[in-house]
């Protein structure tokens, strides 16, 4: 059905959503877990424990939608991000960019927050046809879990099998997480990243604190 001639750049509203004032005039940004005040908590947090927790704040989160049969789409992504979009349950890392497979026509790309808009623009310029890019940077956040018991906390929280044999480093799944959902990425042998929706982040934070009690929780800012 693709006979559209209008360039994607014009037919889609693109918006630089970050403020450009600097210094004292710069509007204050608050990550989803801002209210939990991890900074203060980390100051009083134990130094050692089975689980370490940290929010990676204010990254650029871009949802890419398109077809893996669309060569132009794939090459456009490659051209701008320098990475090949990964296949099912895989991730692809290139410098500061990482792409997670979400569904057969959907990927989540994390980039430095300030670059999100430019990258979106560049990608739109590099492709045409049936694809979509959505900036969701305000709508979700990244929570890092690490430590010897991080895997146990995950086992309490998700029905997905997080054992080494089934969940090697680099794999990513979207699954149930407590009573919400999360994109779960294994970033290292004992480290994991959870990507959760903003409105659920307080709940996830509450849940994690509770689930970590028996292992000892170290909070990092």
């Amino acid at each position: 059905m693709s006979d559209s001639t209008a360039s994607n750049v014009e037919s889609i509203a693109q918006m630089d959503q970050l403020p450009h004032k600097t210094g004292s005039l710069q509007p204050r940004a608050e990550s989803p877990l801002y209210h939990a005040d991890l900074a203060t908590l980390s100051a009083h947090s134990a130094d050692a424990g089975g689980v370490e927790i940290k929010e990676v704040k204010l990254l650029g989160h871009l949802v890419l939608r398109g077809s893996i049969e669309d060569a132009e789409f794939l090459s456009g992504v490659k051209e701008v991000l320098g990475l090949d979009l990964p296949g099912p349950l895989q991730s692809s890392l290139q410098g500061e960019f990482i792409a997670y497979w979400v569904s057969p026509n959907e990927w989540l790309v994390l980039v430095p927050g300030q670059q999100a808009f430019q990258l979106e623009r560049d990608m739109r310029s590099a492709m045409s046809g049936n694809f979509a890019i959505v900036n969701v940077s305000g709508g979700q956040t990244v929570i890092c879990l690490s430590g010897a018991n991080a895997v146990d906390v995950l086992k309490k929280s998700t029905p997905y099998d997080v054992h080494n044999k089934n969940f090697p480093v680099g794999k990513v799944v979207t699954s149930v997480f407590a009573k919400t959902q999360a994109l779960i990425f294994r970033s290292g042998p004992e480290s994991w990243e959870l990507i959760v929706r903003r409105s659920f982040s307080d709940y996830v934070w509450l849940w994690l604190q509770d689930a970590c009690i028996e292992y000892g929780l170290v909070i990092k800012d």
Binding site: Y160, V173, T174, S175, V176
Partner: protein
């Protein structure tokens, strides 16, 4: 609790990630306006509801958000196959009226 293979994620997942969306292969009439009330009622509400093999639509709601079909025995709860929307089932009931 079912263990369901998602043909899009190419992975077995727990039932909690899915929603059942009813009988599969019920196409929306191409010209609803030409349907009689009875035909429209059949489309809306009347189902095979078989005791035995059932072709049904599921969505991997907490996952890839894609719909797909399952052929499942409604008595033993055995999943015989999964297949993508638009594909035909290979396991079918021998009964004609299915």
């Amino acid at each position: 609790m079912f263990h369901i293979y998602c043909p899009h994620c190419e992975d077995h997942r727990e039932e909690e990630e899915f929603h059942a969306s009813g009988e599969a292969h019920i196409p929306r009439p191409l010209d609803p306006q030409s349907c009689s009330d009875e035909e429209w009622g059949e489309y809306l509400y009347f189902r095979k509801n078989p005791r035995g093999l059932h072709h049904e639509l599921w969505v991997h709601a907490v996952g890839c958000r894609k719909f797909f079909n399952i052929t499942r025995d409604t008595v033993t709860y055995e999943i015989k196959e999964v297949y993508k929307v638009g594909e035909k089932p290979s396991v079918t009931s021998s009964e004609k009226n299915q």
